[in-house]
Amino acid sequence: MTTEPALMSLTSIAQVIAQKQLSSREATQSCLDRIAQWQPRLNAFMAIEAEAALAAADAADADLAKGNNRGALHGVPLAHKDMYYEAGKVVTCGSRIRRDFVATTTSTALQRLKDAGTVRLGSLQMSEFAYGPTGHNAHYGPVHNPWGLAHITGGSSSGSGSAVAARLTFAALGSDTGGSIRMPAHFCGVTGLKTTVGRVSRAGAMPLSQSLDTVGPLARSAEDCALLLGLMAGADPDDPTAVAGPVPDYSATTTGSIKGLTIGVPTAFYVDDLDSEVAGILDATMAVLKREGAKVVQVELPDQRQLTAACQLVLAVEAAAFHKRWMIERPQDYGPQVLMRLQNGLAIPGVTYLEAMRWRGPALAAHLAAVAGVDAVIAPVAPVAAPTIAESDVGNSPDAEAVIQRLTRFTRPINYLGLPSLAIPTGFTSSGLPVAMQLIGRSFDEATLLRIGAAFQRATDFHDPVPKFA
C-alpha cells in the first residue's frame, strides 16, 4: 500500500483488511505512529494501549488467516470517549472522582463494535462527566484542535473530535446530550451523528441526563457513520428505552441521490447573529444541495428559545440527581465549572422539571408539523468557528453559563426534541478553521440524513483534508 493506512476511511480500511490487502497490525501500527506524533500536542487520548492493541491486531490477523472473519470491522483499530464501560478497564469519565474506576460490565454499543471485530487502541479524553461544550478539562487539561492548536475542539466528546480529525483513529464513539457530538464535529472538521433518543442503547454508557443522552459516532464521513450506526442500533434487553423494530440498512442509504428531496432552512433563530463566514458557508452549502438535485425551501419553526430553556431545565435537574451523592461527599473533586453547573440543578423545583418533561411531547409534535413538508432541516451547528482555548476558558466565572449557552444555542433544541442530527464539514474559514452544518431529521430517520450527507460529501471534499503536523 502506498497510502498511509491511518489516512484511509473506516469503510476502506475494513475492506482492505477483510480482503487481506493490509493486515490489522499494519493498520494499528499506522494509528499508533500518528498517536505518538500528535498526542503531545493534542492531548486527545486518555490512555494509549499500544502493546495490547498490537497483540489484538495480531490475533485478528491470525483469525483471518484461518478464515475466521469476526465481522464488518474485523481488525479495525478504534478508540472511544472514555465514558463507555469496558469490563476490566479504567473508565475515568474525564473526572478525578472516577480516576481509578474499573468497569465490571461492557457497554452495549461498545460490545456490538467489539463483536464486529474491532481492536482497542485506548480511550479518548472528554469533558469532565460529559458536562462541558468547549473541551476544557480541569483535571486532565484541554484537548487541542489539530486545525489550530490554540483553539478548542468543542466538547464534550473533545478527544473523539480531535483524534478523528488528526487521523489517530478511524472513528470514535461520542455522546450527545446538549451538542457533545456535533460541537466537536463542527470545530474539528469531522462528521458526527447525534442519534434519535432510543435509537442506540445507552446501557453501560456513563449517564448525564437519562432523558437527553444519546450515543453516536464521530467519523470521517457519513458513509462511515452509517456503517457504525448499523452495527450499534437496535433493541437491547439492558436498556428498555432502546427501541425495538428493524434496523435500516444505513450503509445502503448512503449511495442514494438526493434528487427530489426537500431541505428546509429556518427563517429565524438558526440564521440569526451568525459570524459572516459561517453565514456564507451556509449559503454555499445550500447551493451545493440544490446543484445535487434537492429543493431548498424556508421553514418556520416554533420558538426555539423555549426549547433551549426546557432543555436546560431537564439537563440541570437530571445531572444534579445523578451526581448528588458526590456533590455532598466530594465537591472538592469536581472542576469548578462542572460543580457550578451541577449546582444549578438544585434550584429547579420538581414541578418545573416535570412541566419541562410534560411539554416535550407537544413540542415535538409541533416541530414535526412545522417540518411536514421537508425531508430534513439544515442549520449551522454553532454561530462561530472554534474560539481559542484561552478566550473560552471561563471556568466558574459569573458569565460562564451565558458563554456556554451561546455556544450551544443551535444544538440544545434538538436534544430536547430527541431528534437525529448529522453534522457534516461544509467549509473552512479564512483562518483555516473548519465549519460544519447540521442536518436535522425526523425521529428515527437517520437514514435520510446519512443519504443527504453522503451525497454532499460525494460532491465536495471538505471532509477530506488532513491537518498538517507543523
Binding site: T196, V197, T308, Q343, R358, P362
Partner: protein, 65 residues
Amino acid sequence: MTRPTPKEIGAVAAVAGVSVGAEVATRIANSIGPAFEGFAAVAGTLPFDLEPATFVVAQAGKASK
C-alpha cells in the same frame, strides 16, 4: 414564572440535602435564571391530562398535529 432569588435557591438546595452558601446561591440564580424566563410562556399553561409519555407517542408519529 420568575427566576428564583438567591434566598429561595439557598432554601431549595438545603431541602435537597446539598447546602450552598450565599455566594453560590447568587451564582446559581444568575446561571439558571434565563432558563426560567425562557420557559415562562409554557409554565402553568399545560393541559391537565398531559403526561411525559406523550413524547414517545410523538416520536412514533401518532401525536395530533
